[in-house]
Symmetry: C2
Subunit: 329 residues, 2 copies
C-alpha cells in the first residue's frame, strides 16, 4: 500500500501478535516503523515476533502507562496503531485496577498526547467484540446494544468511546475495529490470556487433550492474522473511516466442539474433551457470538480471505517449527 | 421509613446537595449516618448543608480517591449511598484525568472494598442521564442506546457498569439511578458545575439577566430534591431493585426559554437573554432530553410529587435567605 510508504508509524503493543504482524507488513510497504512494547510477561509481547525485521524497525521498550514517554513517542508520527492492551477477561476480574490503568487511563493519556502534541496523527484503535456482552441477536451488528459482562469489556468500551469522542470534539482522526478471535503465527500460546486457540494449539502439539469448556455448542467467528492486519491497514488508509467503529468477523461460523474436532481429526492427530466451565469463566461467558462485518465491507471493501482450514494449518505448522520461542519466556 | 431505623449508613459526597438532603431524611428515620466528603471547592460539598444536623451525623473529611480510608469507612455499614462524583461536563473535557480518577477509578476501589470487606452492604449509585447522549427518541427509556457525548458521560457509564457487574458476579447488591436535573435548596449556585439552574437562580436573586444558551428551545425535565431523595431511599429499601438501573424524570417537561420566563415573570421579577452557546458547551450539548420513569414507578412505586412551581419557589426563598452561605466559599 502506497499510503504507508515513507510514513512514520507508531505501533503500541508492537511486539505482540497483531502489532508485530502489522509491523512486518508496514516494513514491506516502506514505512518507518517504531514499535513500543512493555514486554510484560503476562501480555503478548515477544521479541521473537520481530526477529526477521528487527533491523528495519525502531524498538522502544516502554509501557503505555508511562505518559511522559508516550508524549515524546507520539510527536511527529503520521499513524498510530493503538494495539496495546490488557486482553485477558479473567485477569481483569482478578486485577481490575491494572486493567483500568491500561485500557482506560492510558488510552486517555494517549489521546491527550495526540491532542496536545500531534493532532494531525491518524489513530487506528483495536477494540473488541467483548463489549457487546451476551448477544440479543446474531450476527451482531455495530448497532447491537453494548452490555459488557466483565471489567475488561467495561474498560475497553471506555477506551473506544474516548477515541470516538476525541475524533468528534477535537478532530483527532481515529477509527476503531472491534476484533473477534484473531489467531495465527505469533499469538500467545502460553495460556488463554489472548485467545483460547493459543492454548488449544499448544496442547495439540504437545499431545495433550484440548479442553472445551461448557457443552462445546458455543458458536464463534475467527480472523486469521493476515485478514486482521489488512483491516487495520485499510482502516488507516481511508479518512472515510474517521470517527467510526467497525466489527471484524469471519465467514465460517463454527462451534467450539466442531473446531476441536477439526483440529484433532482433520488437521492434526489429537484428542479433545468436554469439561465443565471453571466457575470464574462461566460467569463472564457470552454464549454464542459472531459478528456482522458488512459495514466495513461496504465502507472500505474489507473481507476476510483466509479459510479457517488454511489459517489453522499455517498456525500449527508455525508453532511446530517455532515452539521453542513461544512455549516459555 | 423503618428500613433505615438504627441502620449504619455511609454517604459518599454527603456534604453535597443531594447527599446532605438525604442525610437529613435518614437522621429523621433514626439512622446512624456517616458522611464522607472531600470538600473540594469546585465540587458540591458545603458544611452549611448539614448545619442543622451536624450533631446527629459523623463527618469524615476524605476523598473517594483515598482507597485506604474508604476501606475502613465501608466496613460494617448497612447501606452505602454512593453520590460522590465529578459532575461538570465542561470540566471533564478540560481535566479528563481528574474525572476519570473520581468517576471510574474510585468507583472500582469502592466496589473492591465492598467485595473484600463488606459484601453484605447495599449500594445505591447516583448515575446520570448524560450517558444516553443525544436522544434518538423521547421520552428516553432505560433501553435507549448509550452514547455519551463527553468524557464525563463515558466515565459515569463505566462507573455505573462496574456496579451492575459487581452485583451480577459477586452479589454485591446495588441499584443505579440515572438522575436528571435535580434542583432545590442546597444545590451549588456558584457556577453551573452541578446544574445550570444553580447559576440561574443566583443571577435571578442578584438582579442579573439569566443567560439561556442556544435558542432556548431545548426541552428538559427536572426533579426537586425531595423527590430525588425519596427515589434513593425507596431504591435502597427494596431488594427487587438489585442489579438494576432506573431513570428518574419529571412530569413537567419545559423548554429552557419557558423555564427562564417562568422564573423571571411568574415566580420572581427578573430578566433573561438568549445568547449563543459557548463553543465548548455546544459540542457536548445533547439537544432535547426528558426521561421515561415508568420502570421505577412499576417496580417500587416512585413518582415525582413536587410541582416545578412549588419547587422553584422553595428554592428561590431558600437562597434569598441563605445566600451568604452559598455565594462564596
Amino acid at each position: 500500500m502506497d499510503t504507508y510508504s515513507n510514513k512514520k508509524i507508531l505501533i503500541l503493543g508492537g511486539l505482540g501478535f497483531i502489532g508485530s504482524s502489522l509491523a512486518r507488513k508496514l516494513v514491506d510497504y516502506g514505512a518507518k516503523v517504531t514499535i513500543v512494547d512493555s514486554l510484560i510477561p503476562e501480555y503478548g509481547g515477544n521479541l521473537y515476533n520481530i526477529s526477521d525485521i528487527k533491523d528495519k524497525v525502531k524498538l522502544n521498550i516502554s509501557d503505555v502507562r508511562d505518559d511522559h514517554a508516550l508524549k515524546w513517542l507520539i510527536k511527529s508520527q503520521d499513524y498510530l496503531f493503538n494495539l496495546a492492551g490488557q486482553t485477558s477477561h479473567a485477569d481483569s476480574m482478578v486485577n481490575p485496577k491494572v486493567d483500568l490503568d491500561i485500557n482506560v487511563s492510558a488510552q486517555l493519556s494517549i489521546l491527550e498526547s495526540c491532542r496536545l502534541y500531534n493532532s494531525d496523527v491518524k489513530i487506528i484503535f483495536a477494540s473488541t467484540r467483548q463489549i457487546y456482552g451476551k448477544p440479543d441477536f446474531l450476527p451482531v451488528t455495530e448497532e447491537h446494544p453494548i452490555r459488557p459482562v466483565d471489567v475488561n469489556g467495561i474498560n475497553k468500551l471506555a477506551g473506544e468511546s474516548y477515541h470516538t469522542l476525541y475524533n468528534k470534539i477535537y478532530g483527532i482522526r481515529s477509527t476503531g475495529l472491534r476484533l473477534t478471535n484473531t489467531y495465527g503465527p505469533g499469538m500467545r500460546v502460553k495460556d488463554a490470556r489472548q485467545t483460547f486457540l493459543g492454548i488449544w494449539i499448544r496442547r495439540l502439539i504437545e499431545g495433550h487433550k484440548i479442553r472445551v469448556f461448557g457443552d462445546g455448542s458455543q458458536l464463534r467467528d475467527f480472523n486469521y492474522i493476515d485478514d486482521c492486519v489488512s483491516a487495520l491497514l485499510l482502516a488507516g488508509a481511508s479518512d472515510s473511516t474517521n470517527g467510526k467503529v467497525y466489527n471484524l468477523g469471519g465467514h465460517e461460523i463454527i462451534s467450539l466442539k466442531d473446531l476441536a474436532k477439526l483440529l484433532t481429526s482433520d488437521l492434526y492427530d489429537g484428542e479433545f474433551e468436554i469439561v465443565p466451565f471453571p466457575k470464574e469463566r462461566e460467569v463472564i461467558d457470552i454464549g454464542d457470538y459472531y459478528g456482522d462485518y458488512s459495514l466495513i465491507t461496504k465502507d472500505i471493501g474489507w473481507k476476510p480471505k483466509i479459510s479457517l482450514n488454511a489459517g489453522l494449518v499455517n498456525t500449527i505448522n508455525y508453532y511446530t517449527k517455532n515452539k521453542i520461542h513461544y512455549w516459555d519466556a
